[in-house]
């Protein structure tokens, strides 16, 4: 690999040091940092709520917090983790930072819109934090009617406002990415030369733009019914509660793919780099991404198999849910095949990526149990579902997010993190995660419903295992905060391309200058042009 000449320009971090220079920035890289700070704060708020939940569930009796407090805890955990961490996590941080760099562009298409979307996110966040201070909300993150419109006496409208507002931030980010990918690619960066990370974020952006407005409308209708008693969802007012579920899941199922597709993109970048291999089946990977994004819109009814929707609707949604598992399976097989005859280095990002493949496989396969409609009747609304989607969202998305943070840390900050600590944290998180969530599969099959403040004593052993795992997981999540933070000040300076990686983002200095590239970089004729036979420099 040729040595890249220093650009001789100040890096984007040196463009201004005042707080004002940060909060008025239009640089996609600085906006990515702003998002990173904000979502990290929300991650630990949501995590604190989860810690309280797991502490309460150590004993079968509700002895730590009251039932109402418990209900507020799982609601805030869900609302914060879904809308204020997982949805923006990879797209708004790594996506914002990397998409222009990866396609050889100097900026996103609409830099002002980009900073606006961050402000909208913060405004939504203020609503949610105010909801917490005012006394919380107890509807669950799903806001099911008529409980949320007629029977809850907590701050439903405030919380719904927060989610409504933050939705516009993801719509604007999605819009920005779509236009950026269409219009800003460097000469030679054809669609089938784009990194899978860009493909994944592009597909995610389409989902954001198409699905999020439906959520916004649904939440407005909910607020109208709650405040003005307009009959939409409440049968006492002539409405239909299942209508809410249809509208809510029309957004919230595709939202799962908003959370996991970008993670798949990250993993493709990391595995190819540390196996020194081209991705196996590049085009199938692209089509799989689009297939997941497309089918993802047609499966929302699988959340409603026991809701009273028509039996035949249930069967159609069951069939479509099996279909969406096919492209997911293709991706797992292709990652595995990519390792074949590679030259594999077990760096911290690679450990996270391999962890992702394992946990996503388990999470995806248990999704088949829930797609099998007769079996779902027993398993839905139990801990089996909790375990399933945490394997996808925490085992999958959060692992990939952390892997991506480590992989691009030198590029983003210009510093190297401590590799040994990175590996230790990855292993602790993997072990803690499995201990937390695997017992929940068994709890679900044995019939423990979700959102239970108290539970029968026969479930205690598995709940103690799960809570023990959660405490290990908490240590694992706090560790990177320490050693990554330390590296910001004491870490060795990073070269432009510490991993000898192939993407365009590595063809500029670390950290990049404000305009990313001094001159437009040359695009490789094939993506991921790694070769396992040549030892990396």
């Amino acid at each position: 690999m040729s040595v890249i000449a220093a650009t001789g320009q100040p890096s984007y971090l040196e463009e201004g040091f005042s707080l004002w220079s940060w909060i008025t920035t239009r640089d996609h890289k600085r906006i990515a940092i702003l998002y990173m700070v904000a979502i990290t704060a929300f991650f630990f708020i949501g995590g604190a709520a989860a810690a309280m939940i797991r502490l309460e569930l150590v004993t079968p009796r509700g002895d730590l917090v009251t039932a109402d407090t418990y209900n507020k805890l799982f609601t805030v955990h869900g609302v914060v983790m879904v809308w204020f961490f997982l949805i923006p996590s990879i797209p708004a941080t790594l996506g914002n930072f990397l998409i222009p760099l990866m396609i050889g562009a100097r900026e996103v298409a609409f830099p002002r819109l980009n900073i606006l979307s961050w402000y909208i996110y913060v405004l939504g966040g203020i609503f949610v934090i105010y909801t917490l201070i005012a006394g919380g909300v107890d509807t669950g993150w799903t806001f099911y009617t008529p409980f949320s419109t007629l029977f809850s006496n907590t701050h439903v409208v405030l919380a719904v406002m927060g989610v409504f507002v933050v939705g516009f931030s993801s719509i604007l980010t999605g819009l920005n990415f779509i236009v950026t990918v269409h219009r800003m690619r460097a000469p030679g960066m054809t669609w089938f030369r784009m990194p899978l990370f860009v493909w994944a974020n592009y597909a995610t952006s389409i989902i954001m733009v198409l699905a999020t407005p439906v959520l916004a409308m649904t939440l407005v209708l909910l607020a109208l019914e709650r405040v003005l008693r307009v009959g939409i969802f409440d049968p006492a007012l002539g409405g239909d509660p299942l209508l809410f579920q249809h509208l809510f899941w029309f957004y919230s199922h595709p939202a799962v793919y908003i959370m996991v597709l970008p993670a798949m993109g990250v993993v493709s970048e990391i595995i190819t780099c540390f196996a020194r291999k081209r991705i196996f089946g590049y085009k199938f990977m692209c089509y799989a991404i689009l297939g997941i994004a497309g089918f993802g819109f047609l499966v929302w009814g699988h959340h409603m198999f026991v809701s009273g929707q028509s039996m035949y609707a249930g069967m159609v949604f069951s069939a479509l849910s099996f279909m969406v598992a096919v492209p997911s399976a293709i991706k797992v097989f292709n990652w595995t095949a990519t390792l074949y005859k590679g030259s594999i280095a077990f760096t911290a990002p690679m450990l996270y990526a391999l962890g992702f493949v394992g946990l996503f496989t388990v999470g995806g396969m248990t999704g088949l149990y829930l797609a099998a409609i007769a079996l779902d009747v027993h398993l839905t609304d139990t801990y089996f579902v909790i375990a399933h989607f945490h394997y996808i969202m925490v085992g999958g998305s959060v692992m990939a997010y952390l892997g991506g943070i480590h992989y691009w840390w030198p590029k983003v900050t210009g510093r190297m993190y401590n590799e040994a600590w990175g590996r230790v944290a990855a292993l602790i998180i993997f072990a803690g995660f499995n201990l937390t969530f695997f017992p929940q599969y068994i709890l679900g099959y044995l019939g423990m419903p979700r959102r239970y403040h108290e539970y029968p004593p026969e479930f205690q052993v598995l709940n103690i295992l799960s809570s023990a795992g959660a405490s290990i997981l908490a240590v694992g999540y706090l560790l990177p905060l320490v050693y990554l933070g330390w590296s910001l000040f004491k870490g060795p300076h990073a070269p432009p391309n510490p991993w000898d990686a192939r993407g365009l983002e590595w063809k500029t200095s670390s950290p990049p200058p404000k305009d990313n590239f001094v001159e437009t970089p040359a695009v490789d004729p094939v993506p991921y042009s790694y070769s396992p036979e040549v030892k990396p420099a």
Binding site: G62, A67, P146, F147, L150, F151, P235, A236, G239, P241, F280, G281, Y282, V306, S307, G308, M311, G314, M315, S318, F322, A325, V326, I330, A337, L339, Y340, K341, G342, S343, I344, A345, F346, G358, T361, M365, T366, L368, Y369, A371, A372, A374, L375, D376, V377, H378, T380, D381, L446, G447, P449, R450, R451, Y452, H453, E454, Y455, E458, Q460, E533
Partner: protein, 308 residues
């Protein structure tokens, strides 16, 4: 700690067969993937001296193979599961009706002969049962883990569930749809009795009037009979034997007068007006409880049987 769960209905072994088949299929595939990943990771670790040449970057037959094989397996699993699911909602002739009303935070059960229970449900073993489930407030879910069945109780509509208990014993009854403060405490027990024990249990219920009789009382108390009685001067449809009949509506639709239709006619009388009648009936929302309505339906069903 209990590591197993009783399988006490005709449905349970079918659902368990699906579960363990899936466990086997996904277990084998997951094990194969993990073994391959670990094998590749060891054999092709960076420090290993090994032939790394000639690995293809794509191979269409392999891609098609691992696209189409899962697809075929998935379609098979789908069809099997959908077939089992269909039976949960199939009407079995001679099924014993049981009426369930969910309410924050209790389950109210009513048997056709009028025996009422709260947070308990007694069933005879081997007798097909059809649950008709309603809710008085928010959405609940009637969850019987040992039967592998649950069904949401949704305000504003009836849901049903058909099954046969196959083993005597006592099983858990829970609520599995979050419904507010005491969601975790909403539940109780299901007791499956031998037929003779069940008959004895019913008799101990004593002198309570049966459900249809209570429905007739409600029919009078709420004033339904004032218009719908044959001797009434108000022009209103005769309801004798209405249950299960085809009703022709003013807007040209024809519907079967099932539980849901009767319920809607009581609460939303202007929605399905019978052809030839004026929409003069007031809504009984707020006056008739879910229990009243279920009893009135039982009464109307009994009038059907009385006809020659």
């Amino acid at each position: 700690m209990k590591w197993y769960i009783a399988a006490a209905s005709d449905v349970a072994p079918k659902v368990d067969a699906l579960f363990f088949t899936l466990l086997a299929v996904t277990g084998i595939v997951a094990a194969a993937i993990f073994v391959l990943i670990v094998f590749f990771c060891i054999r092709y670790r960076r420090s290993a001296v090994v032939d790394r040449s000639g690995a293809p970057a794509n191979w269409l037959p392999l891609e098609l193979g691992w696209t189409l094989t899962p697809l075929a397996i998935f379609l098979g699993l789908f069809a099997w599961a959908a077939y089992v699911y269909g039976s949960f909602y199939r009407d079995v002739p001679g099924a014993m009706p049981i009426f369930v009303v969910g309410k924050q935070w209790m389950w109210k059960i009513e048997h056709a002969d009028g025996r009422r229970e709260i947070d308990e449900m007694h069933l005879p073993v081997g007798q097909p049962v059809k649950l008709v489930i309603a809710s008085e407030d928010v959405i609940h879910s009637f969850y019987m883990p040992a039967f592998r069945l649950k069904q949401d109780a949704v305000p504003g509509r009836y849901t049903t569930l058909s099954f046969t208990p196959t083993q005597t014993g006592t099983y858990d009854l829970r609520c599995s749809e979050y419904c507010g403060t005491d969601h975790a405490r909403m539940g109780g027990t299901i007791t499956v009795l031998a037929p003779q024990d069940f008959a004895m249990w019913l008799e101990k219920g004593g002198t309570e009037p049966d459900m249809a009789a209570r429905g007739f009382a409600a029919f009078r108390r709420l004033g339904c009979s004032g218009c719908h009685d044959a001797r009434s001067s108000v022009h209103a449809p005769d309801l004798n034997g209405i249950y299960g009949r085809i009703v022709h509506l003013q807007d040209g639709r024809s519907v079967i007068a099932d539980e849901g239709y009767i319920r809607d006619s009581i609460l939303l009388p202007k929605r399905d007006v019978v052809v030839g009648f004026e929409p003069v009936m007031p809504s009984f929302a707020g006056q008739a409880t879910e229990g009243d309505i279920l009893e009135i339906i039982a009464y109307l069903k009994s009038t059907g049987k009385a006809r020659p």
